[in-house]
Amino acid sequence: MNRELISKAVGNIDDRFIAEAYRPVPEDASRSPERIVQMKPKRLFTLALAAAVILSLGIAAYAVWSIHTARQQELRSDLKIDENNAESYVEYQVPDTASEGVVLLSAVNDGEEERIYVNVSPVSEEELAGFPGLLHFFCTIDGTEYGGFAAPALPADLSLAGEVGIHTAVLEYAYDRDSSTLTLQCYLMTDMLEKAVEELGTESVPLSIFVAKGEEEPRCFGTIPFSPTEKQLRSFDFNHARYVDPELGKEIEILGLELTPFTAVWKVTYPEAAVFHTPEADWDAYRDYAFLEDEVCVQSQILFSNGTSFSTGGALTCPYEDGAVHLHCGWGSAINIDEVQQIVLGDLVLWEKTE
């Protein structure tokens, strides 16, 4: 095999694909007009908010009140909560006085994980220089062996390149220099959270947020009580719809879809699906069905009443449970699951709203 010629063959792909995948790298990104345009609304919003707060609460309270409330507003907007009626999103009362530690901003149960947004402080800019790479954030439920990871909360549709790009974005979007506050998104698996509630016998769990630098002892920002939130789920039954890929000559049965504003679980089955979803599976035999599974997730279109459509994208995990392959897909900003009009895969109508 001639590696040089393979390299050449790939190197000569169509220019439009190369241009499409082009992303400005950090030193470009910090100067690009697109980025300036992106930053402007946020800056304007912060300034408008600052003016309103200074008038109503006085300058002393501004620094802390604004960062918690401003972050809540930014998250709400970024996650498209209002426009898509994501009722499962919960926003909490935030303090109006300066305080170090952890402030719970909001949370949403996406069906598999509880996404919990918090402000933590103090975090110095020098300390934050170790992120990403040296610095790690995580959360634990005190009194249990359960926990999850955390990361600075960045806009859902932000494209980043490399560690410098990530660090720059964290300073821009998740860090507030004036109050040394960092906004984090914590992830806790919902089944772990349920187990923790059961083990502790309380409605809320003590959630501690930590930062660890390399091998150093982790530092705890503080502990907050957190109660699991309700998930917003809509189930679609496809009445054992069958999809055939004419080229592969294979058929897949699409049983249903469980949709939340942030995740989807497609349920499909086909001969030997159980066997293929074991560690010992024969990839060559499974391959065609893997393509079919992808087609279901990627090619299916969810059509909404406002005329827009949405693809759940490829599955991130695909366990075999309860007699079906569960294709788990996820995305950043909410969709409006109440406004689904039709779900189609090519010419096959899987589900349609009836009056």
């Binding site: 050449k8 790939v10 220019d15 995948a21 980043l160």
Partner: protein, 188 residues
């Protein structure tokens, strides 16, 4: 800082103004260096590659009038970087680009007898057809990994997915490509 439109940069090249290089470097310099550095993993080589790229662009525009300019420039950078890579790595295999080539070899195994430029061209066309069938996100991952030679960790950062998820996705894309090549009769 705002950048000149591509057409204006090209006009500067046509006027043989050295400002063309300055503007090109300001707009796409980082992308050129990154493309080269992904392949060479050596900052000095990448810098030299960028300079060679600008010379290449200077020597070819005019008569060329490329659109999009970014693909044209990055393509020259990639070719120069790969030539340098082959010169530097005649005996050793240790760069990120080796991993990229390993993955491609796994996907285009010995059934595809790449003996000639003609067959390489045939493979290019098949990959173009394959890319056209992909969802935008998948196409982005494929092109960034196998054309721009980005590392999985960089792709993880760009897409907001875990490195593991990116690897799984790339694995599936390679399998899809392999299947496409088989279906088209290019793989035995």
């Amino acid at each position: 800082m705002t950048h000149l439109e591509d057409s204006k940069i090209i006009s500067l090249f046509y006027e043989r103004s050295e400002q063309a290089i300055v503007e090109l470097n300001q707009k796409y310099g980082a992308a050129v260096k990154r493309t080269a550095a992904n392949i060479l993993k050596n900052r000095l080589d990448a810098e030299e590659c960028a300079n060679d790229t600008y010379l290449g662009v200077w020597n070819t525009i005019p008569p060329q009038n490329p659109n999009p300019l970014v693909s044209y420039v990055c393509k020259i950078a990639r070719n120069i970087a790969i030539n340098r890579y082959h010169a530097n790595h005649a005996e050793k295999r240790n760069s990120n680009y080796d991993l990229v080539l390993d993955e491609l070899e796994e996907c285009i195994p010995s059934g595809f007898d790449l003996e000639s430029e003609l067959e390489a061209k045939e493979l290019t066309e098949a990959i173009n057809r394959f890319l056209a069938t992909l969802e935008k996100e998948d196409r982005f991952l494929f092109v960034r990994r196998y054309w721009y030679a980005d590392s999985v960790s960089d792709l993880s950062a760009m897409t907001g997915s875990s490195a593991n998820r990116v690897s799984v996705r790339l694995f599936r894309l390679r399998e899809k490509l392999r299947n496409t090549l088989k279906k088209e009769g290019l793989l035995v």
